[in-house]
Symmetry: C2
Subunit: 102 residues, 2 copies
């Protein structure tokens, strides 16, 4: 982190309002995903996010995949669930990199 091709992937990932919205929700999971049965420390499981976006399950899954490939979120599988949380280190590194390059 964070070279030019990574910046490219990140900016493209951010260039969609739903993906930015997901990142914003994940900033305060207790506020947006309080109904999740599992501990929020793991992250938020994909199905919870589906519910909020209003998009289909497969479309939301694709958005999450884009965020993950860009390194903006990280995942952890526990049982049948996959938890998503922000990758704060990468987000911070990106902000610094774009602050310099822009």
């Amino acid at each position: 982190m964070t070279d030019s091709s990574e910046i490219d992937a990140i900016i493209k990932a951010l260039a969609h309002p739903v993906r930015r919205q997901i990142l914003a929700w994940l900033k305060e999971p207790e506020e947006w995903f309080a109904e999740q049965a599992h501990p929020l420390d793991y992250g938020v499981c994909a199905g919870m996010i589906d519910k909020r976006t209003g998009l289909s399950q497969s479309t939301t899954s694709a958005h999450l995949s884009t965020l993950q490939k860009a390194g903006l979120v990280e995942t952890q599988r526990i049982g049948q669930w996959i938890y998503y949380k922000r990758n704060e280190a990468n987000i911070q590194a990106f902000l610094e990199a774009i602050g310099e390059s822009l």
Copy 2:
């Protein structure tokens, strides 16, 4: 500057490598556009940028238009030329806004 719809336009504008490249060139016009016959204080005229992108004149014009609509560059017409320069205030405002929202 800089509300949510403006951020959206800016991020979309940045989500193309050629447009980021143009912004980078405009950071150091004397380095990249020294052959311009007119003073660089005005900015860099569109034709000079065309030459560098390797894309067609009309495509480059569309990229410049995207950057301008997003507020990342400003233009000034002098005679038959239209000069482009970075809008540093807006760029800075964007960096601060995204640093907070992200």
